[in-house]
């Protein structure tokens, strides 16, 4: 299959040990043009700018960070709705970053995406049955027992009544529509689902139902997730590992207990200090909030991108970009991109 599709084999891939997905040095720049006829390019938005991450088989990796830092762009690159400007995306050891449409076809079924907005991501003129069956149709897959039986099974799997096969999206509530989107993503037995803010638009109670559903799917069907969300408590609940992103790059990544319990990047400290907990005893104090607005992704700061808002910044931070590196004293796999990493107290007292 590989030769036919032209997807390259990774020379050093060791079967069984390679992660399901491995992203290295990923870059996506969007050109910014002047208005009018000339449409001259006047700059570029560095939406994703040298991003590294890996997701293991059946693992859930959370991706968090400020609005506009490039989370959705990352998700769209991995599902190849976008083509990267540079860098590599390896899926099961095969480079897919620049694979053509035809080359991607067999992989498309294995990497699915769930979107934030259950309203706009479903075609209002199609029945739920047709929506869920579409991926099988496009990929000409005929499951044993037929497509219709498969769709009914999927609807049941996500907690919808199979009798609703002939209904239209507008007849469903937000949470039910999100379930339809999930059923569609499951149709081709995916191995990786990129979920971009899958519960952000939902009421807390419906949100809990959908989180529980995704979690049972992850465990029972061994599906890996890249789970993008801005609710840090939901991410912690859902993801075994968490990556923190700032202006197009990962600045800290570790298992969930380390990120939430022992974070070492000043931006992670800032982010966690801003969370509002539903408990007046733990109510957010006024702590390490960043000062002012984020820098423009058109012209990110030199060196460390967080330096313009970092309470610990030193001259070195403007000169050299800190690499995302494992810190010897921290848990295995806990990597931080900072010249002066340390526990949260350090960042807070630097204010």
């Amino acid at each position: 299959m590989d030769q036919k599709t032209g997807v390259q084999d990774r020379p050093s891939a060791e079967p069984g040990t390679a992660p399901l997905l491995e992203v290295a040095g990923l870059v996506k720049h969007f050109p910014v043009r002047t208005g009018g006829l000339g449409r001259r390019q006047v700059g570029k938005v560095r939406a994703v700018d040298g991003l590294d991450l890996a997701v293991g088989v059946g693992e859930s990796l959370g991706l968090v960070g400020e609005s506009g830092c490039g989370k959705s762009t990352t998700g769209r690159l991995i599902t190849r709705l976008l083509e990267p400007t540079d860098g590599s995306i390896r899926y099961q050891g095969r480079e897919i970053g620049h694979a053509t449409r035809r080359e991607l076809a067999p992989i498309r079924s294995e990497i699915q995406m769930i979107f934030q907005d259950p309203y706009s991501s479903l075609n209002p003129r199609q029945t739920v049955g047709a929506i869920v069956a579409a991926p099988m149709e496009i990929n000409r897959i005929d499951p044993p027992g037929g497509r219709k039986a498969k769709v009914k099974e999927l609807l049941e799997r996500v907690g919808l009544n199979p009798e609703h096969y002939n209904r239209f999206p507008h007849e469903f509530s937000g949470g039910q529509r999100q379930r339809v989107g999930i059923a569609r993503a499951l149709a081709l037995r995916p191995k990786l689902i990129v979920a971009d803010e899958p519960v952000s638009a939902l009421d807390v109670s419906i949100q809990a139902q959908v989180v529980n559903l995704l979690q049972s799917l992850q465990r029972e069907l061994d599906i890996a997730f890249l789970f993008i969300a801005h609710d840090l408590a939901v991410v912690r609940h859902f993801s075994e590992r968490v990556a923190v992103m700032y202006l197009g790059k990962i600045v800290e990544v570790a298992d969930r207990d380390s990120v939430y319990g022992n974070p070492h990047h000043p931006y992670t400290h800032t982010l966690l200090s801003a969370v509002c907990e539903p408990d007046p005893d733990k109510a957010r104090g006024r702590r390490a909030l960043p000062i002012g607005d984020p820098p423009s992704p058109l012209a990110p700061p030199s060196g460390c991108r967080f330096r313009t808002r970092c309470p610990k910044a030193q001259p070195l931070c403007a000169e050299q970009e800190p690499p995302l590196a494992q810190l010897a004293e921290l848990a295995d796999g806990h990597r931080v991109a900072c010249h002066f990493p340390g526990p949260a107290e350090d960042t807070l007292t630097h204010r």
Binding site: G68, S173, Q207, Q215, C276, E277, D279, P280, D293
Partner: protein, 366 residues
């Protein structure tokens, strides 16, 4: 001065005499809502969006309104602002703002209050700001219209307000259009516009829901600072219990157009007395709780507002129906009995509520 809520017998039977000491003195309440009903005529029938809601808001205090999607939070806010289309809406009960009755008040009265003494901020700042005028012009125009200030005064006031909400270089940024601002800055600009006339009441409907946590934290701090300076009373509508915990004094929990629980933020979040509030708390993961247990959402679906369930509107989804004798949950509407501003509309005995929460619900939260 607001009337005693005599027409509100079902909802507030005990508030009239014994607890009158706990009801804020009428002159302290800037807003007093009694037995508010809001009904919409639709093709499918009459939607009972708000169904007998009463509350008082003291000057300078903050009331949080929480509840699931469709429970009537925004409809309540729009009623206070007089923004419902009278052709399709039936309003009942009373809404008194600083002694003036708003229900049935002439357009002119409402227009004069709105923007000047009562103002509102929304989730979507872009929709509230015009793309065709600079941010400074829009704030200045609001000030001129309501305060009769000169152009020059109004411009100066707009710049001052932008500075107060933390926009750097306000003098220069006042000349920018909204699309030049980031999401967080637009939200600040909208707050500046809402507060330019020093209103007595600010209604904030999900003002931070679309923002990420760091910007949200800045906006919440900003609102708290401005309130401390100006003494504006605030109604803060959200479905985020975390925002409630760090922002408001008192909480009103809404379900199916009614208040089901009322109390201080500490009372409602630490010692909740209504099964729906328990459900809300169980639905949200905590930042430090166990990650091994699944979340515990309220089961079932929101009630129909065309044909609300009889008895307690929560009964089709409630796990405690069997603990109330004689099928009262499906037969009788539980009244909201307030003692010192605290109470819940549920047939369970108070001792049972406290015990069930402590023994059965609390241990399962994070």
């Amino acid at each position: 001065m607001p009337d005693t809520p005599d027409g509100a017998g079902v909802l507030l039977p005990k508030q009239v005499a014994p607890d009158s000491a706990s009801v804020p003195a009428p002159d302290a309440a800037i807003l007093s809502v009694r037995d508010l009903t809001v009904r919409f005529r639709t093709e499918d029938g009459v939607v009972k969006a708000v169904d007998g809601l009463s509350f008082d808001l003291a000057r300078g205090s903050t009331l949080g309104i929480v509840g699931e999607s469709g429970s009537g939070k925004s409809v309540t806010a729009l009623s206070v602002l007089g923004l419902h289309n009278p052709e399709r809406t039936e309003l009942g009960g009373t809404i008194r703002f600083d002694g003036t009755e708003l229900i049935g008040a002439p357009r002119r009265t409402l227009n004069r209050l709105r923007g000047r003494r009562i103002s509102m901020i929304f989730q979507d700042a872009l929709a509230a700001l015009s793309p065709f005028y600079t941010v400074g012009e829009q704030i200045a125009e609001t000030y001129r219209e309501h305060m009769g200030a000169s152009r020059k005064e109004a411009k100066a006031r707009a710049v001052e307000m932008l500075g107060r909400v933390g926009i750097p270089n306000p003098n220069r940024r006042a000349d920018d259009y909204p699309h030049h601002f980031s999401g967080g800055m637009r939200q600040r600009a909208m707050i500046a516009m809402a507060l330019v006339c020093d209103p007595d009441l600010l209604i904030a409907d999900e003002p931070t829901t679309a923002l990420d946590v760091t910007v949200q934290a800045q906006i919440l701090d900003l609102i708290a600072d401005l309130q401390a300076e100006t003494g504006t009373a605030i109604i803060f509508i959200t479905h985020d219990l975390g925002v409630i915990a760090s922002t408001v004094h008192d909480v009103l929990v809404m379900y199916a157009g009614r208040c089901v629980e009322r109390g201080t933020v500490r009372e409602v979040l630490k010692d909740p007395r209504h099964p729906y509030t328990w459900g809300l708390l169980s639905s949200v993961p905590e930042l430090s709780g166990s990650v091994d247990l699944p979340l515990r959402p309220v089961r079932g679906t929101p009630p129909s507002l065309l044909n609300p369930p009889p008895g307690c509107p929560f009964h089709p989804r409630c796990d405690y129906v069997a603990r109330v004798p004689e099928h009262a949950c499906s037969l009788d509407r539980p009244p909201l009995e307030l003692v010192a501003g605290r109470g819940s509309a549920c047939h369970l005995a108070t001792a049972d509520k406290t015990r069930i929460f402590a023994d059965e619900v609390r241990p399962l939260l994070g």
